[in-house]
């Protein structure tokens, strides 16, 4: 029996190229489903990774009480001093956080770009930040460094050019990376320069702390809460960014599965169509085999094998297109939490591609099963007459 199955299946697969035209439907159809699904899921994965990779467990963010974003936060000089000198704080960076309208490259329309004023301590505690082109800004000067994502997404954010943020001109002297995190969507400038350029007065938006251990973060929070002089909130940096991620990644993921599911139904019809046609074109061959004494099962298996082979081919094609077309592709969107543009890269992971192939196989199985059964049930005499 097994021998029969193998022989018929091989015979059939060898003839596959002669049915290339109609077979391409199943390949392209399933390829389309897998490609679109993997691409959308890669977007969700990339978006989530941007926030998940941001932050370190031994870093904390201090905001004004009640604020859950740096944009709506503001802290006075005195409070900054009190927190910075608390026990367990190794480094404290006062930071200024604002947004400016800069046109996006893709649409040409203005979008909110984050501008962050940082101090030397800010660089020191963020060891993931690396200048990849140019140099860092000179303290006291109207210079800035741009995150890689900001540079890709916004018009005029190029090394060496100048950009007008609010009323002041800035020279872009460097491009930095920060491990693919959300920081890469920002422009960084010298804190005191930002303070005067953006008319900020004495305080800061927020305070970044490097502490001596991850456990210290919660303990600091309690201490701040207990201090009557302070109306502040302390968050672990990781937790903070995770919250910023919000629902968007889940939404995109759900959207991806929804679109893929609808497309999959369409592709299943296409696959069925192709496989029915394949069975019709092989009617005489199948009937002859049956007349010669081959069983029904080998026929079923051979049709299923054809469907699955085509499906795997289509799935691989789709995954490849998604990988080569989208992996690392940078886009940006408005983040709810920070009210500004977050740039992120599509991440076509092997996991996603495997998911795509599983879908392809399922579709192939659906597309092959009914025609296979029909092929097996063909009345031999009728089939031999080619009807």
């Amino acid at each position: 029996m097994l021998g029969q199955i193998v022989r018929i299946t091989l015979l059939n697969l060898r003839n596959l190229p002669s049915r290339l035209g109609s077979s391409s439907v199943i390949v392209v159809g399933i390829g389309g489903v897998v490609g679109v699904m993997v691409a959308i899921l890669a977007m969700a994965t990339g978006f989530a990774a941007t926030f998940e990779s941001a932050g370190a467990p031994d870093r904390a963010i201090v905001l004004r009480g009640g604020s859950d974003s740096e944009l709506s936060s503001g802290i006075g000089q005195d409070a900054l001093g009190i927190v910075a000198s608390m026990e367990g704080v190794l480094l404290a960076s006062r930071e200024l956080y604002t947004v400016a309208d800069v046109p996006k490259r893709s649409s040409g329309t203005d979008a909110n770009l984050i501008v962050r004023g940082v101090t030397g301590a800010g660089f020191e505690m963020r060891d993931e930040v690396r200048i990849v082109a140019g140099r860092t800004f000179t303290p006291g000067k109207g210079e800035l460094i741009a995150g890689r994502g900001a540079s890709v997404e916004f018009a005029g954010i190029d090394l060496g050019s100048t950009v007008k943020l609010r009323q002041t001109e800035w020279t872009i002297v460097g491009i930095f990376e920060a491990g693919g995190s959300a920081y890469e969507s920002e422009l960084w400038v010298d804190f005191p320069v930002a303070q005067s350029a953006f008319r900020w007065g004495g305080g800061a938006s927020s305070l970044r702390l490097l502490v001596d251990s991850p456990e210290r973060v919660a303990e600091l929070g309690e201490r701040v809460d207990a201090d009557p002089r302070l109306d502040l909130a302390v968050f672990g940096e990781k937790e903070f960014f995770n919250r910023q991620k919000g629902d968007l990644a889940d939404t995109i993921e759900m959207f991806g599965y929804l679109v893929a599911a609808i497309m999959a139904v369409g592709a299943a019809f296409a696959a069925l169509n192709t496989m029915y046609a394949a069975v019709v074109s092989r009617t005489v061959e199948i009937a002859t085999l049956r007349a010669l004494g081959f069983g029904a099962l080998p026929v079923v298996v051979s049709v299923m094998a054809e469907a699955l082979a085509l499906a795997v081919f289509g799935g691989a094609l789709g995954a490849a297109v998604a990988y080569f077309g989208f992996n690392g592709f940078t886009v940006s969107t408005l983040s709810d939490a920070s009210f500004s543009q977050i740039a992120f890269d599509f991440a076509v992971t092997t996991e996603l591609m495997a998911t795509g192939l599983v879908w392809a196989l399922l579709l192939g199985a659906v597309g092959g099963l009914f025609p296979a059964v029909r092929a097996a049930l063909l009345p031999i005499t009728l089939a031999l007459r080619g009807e």
Partner: protein, 384 residues
């Protein structure tokens, strides 16, 4: 039997094939409608955004406040009918997930600015007179079970009260509705006077809404307003409400592009599938087509019959797909509810769907139709 009936009968030669193809086309078009709708929702912005209203905001960013002194100056610009202001309050009701916008406004001027918002005169009167008063859209009130007389607590993030207290309490005096619920933005409104007094920050607003009498002069009036403040501490940027919401939607990202890329993939597949099916159907029928020609059907008429099959298949599939999108839309809208967007079908989408169905039918049908036209009877019959 009519010619269309004949074409229909031909499509039933292999019913399984026809119906499977029909289903694929159907799916493609329902996806088309859903994705286009989504793109329209994002890119098209607010339907109710009007060309006769302008938004005046801070030049450098929407987050910048503007001094209230500008209101009088704007009102005096030639062509300006009315001016009122709004401010982004932020804040959370119970949980950050219960998001809805909250603006401190000038009650009477606000409802004068938005004739599409309907409020009972006595409610508006109570709203204007109650210092801590607030009104909510009826839908929002129903969602949270609020009734007139309830105290609504809001935890502030941007605007703590002067004494540092972050818990605001508003007295709901009633609700308002929209003439047309579609695309209406449900905003929780309260008195700007109370806002200024409680925060101790007087003379600051978020942005201005300006009504103009002649929408065609919008560009000119916007320039005139911006010119007023160009060299002040608070330069402005003025745009029609329409442009404004479009620009904001652009910030979300190019969803239109994404929807179009997906649709290209889908339609390419459908095109291929239908083309293969129609080609197969044609090849099977060569002798029959020749018979039609012997009966006196002209070359053109035979070509039309063949073309008609593709057209009928694609248009019918497209129509079914669009109809099923009507059914699917509320379901998808449910999925996307948290996007707080109004997800509904637009007639232009339906129209372009049918247009594409027609184009698909032509692209798929023309090659076999041309082949059918060229078919010479004597040769085709010999193949029999």
């Amino acid at each position: 039997m009519s010619p269309v009936g004949f074409v229909w009968a031909n499509l039933h030669r292999r019913p399984v094939r026809t119906y499977l193809t029909l289903c694929s086309v159907l799916i493609a078009f329902s996806l088309f409608v859903l994705l286009r709708t989504l793109a329209v929702v994002f890119v098209g912005g607010n339907d109710l955004a009007s060309g006769s209203r302008l938004v005046v905001s801070g030049k450098y960013s929407i987050i910048d406040s503007l001094p209230i002194s500008q209101q009088r100056a704007i009102a005096q610009v030639d062509g300006v009918d009315a001016v009122t202001h709004q401010t982004w309050f932020g804040g959370n009701y119970q949980d950050p997930r219960n998001f809805f916008p909250k603006y401190p406004v000038e009650p009477r001027a606000h409802f004068d600015m938005y004739p599409e918002s309907v409020i009972a005169p006595e409610v508006l009167e109570a709203f204007a007179r109650t210092r801590t008063g607030a009104v909510a859209p009826a839908e929002l009130a129903a969602k949270f079970g609020w009734e007139a007389g309830d105290k609504i607590p809001i935890e502030a993030d941007i605007w703590p009260m002067r004494d540092g207290n972050r818990r605001w309490e508003f007295d709901l005096v009633g609700t308002y509705t929209f003439k047309d619920e579609d695309g209406a933005q449900p905003v929780f409104l309260f008195n700007h006077d109370y806002f200024a007094e409680a925060t101790g920050i007087r003379g600051i607003v978020g942005w201005y809404m300006v009504r103009i009498a002649e929408p065609q002069r919008a560009g000119e009036i916007a320039k005139a307003i911006d010119a007023l403040f160009e060299h002040s501490m608070n330069p402005t940027k003025t745009a029609t409400e329409d442009e404004y919401s479009r620009a904001f939607a652009q910030q979300v990202g190019d969803l239109g592009l994404m929807a179009n890329s997906i649709l290209s993939a889908v339609f390419f597949t459908i095109l291929l599938l239908t083309a293969v099916v129609m080609h197969r159907a044609f090849r099977e029928r060569v002798p029959e087509l020749a018979v039609l020609k012997t009966l006196g059907f002209s070359d053109g008429r035979v070509a039309l019959l063949v073309l008609g099959e593709s057209l009928l298949l694609c248009l019918f599939g497209g129509l079914l797909g669009i109809c099923s999108a009507f059914v699917l839309t509320p379901v998808v809208a449910l999925f996307l509810e948290f996007l707080r967007l109004d997800f509904e079908l637009h007639w232009p989408t339906v129209g372009s769907g049918l247009g594409i169905a027609l184009a698909l039918g032509l692209v798929v049908g023309v090659p076999p139709a041309v082949a059918a036209r060229r078919l010479t009877i004597a040769e085709a019959l010999r193949r029999n």
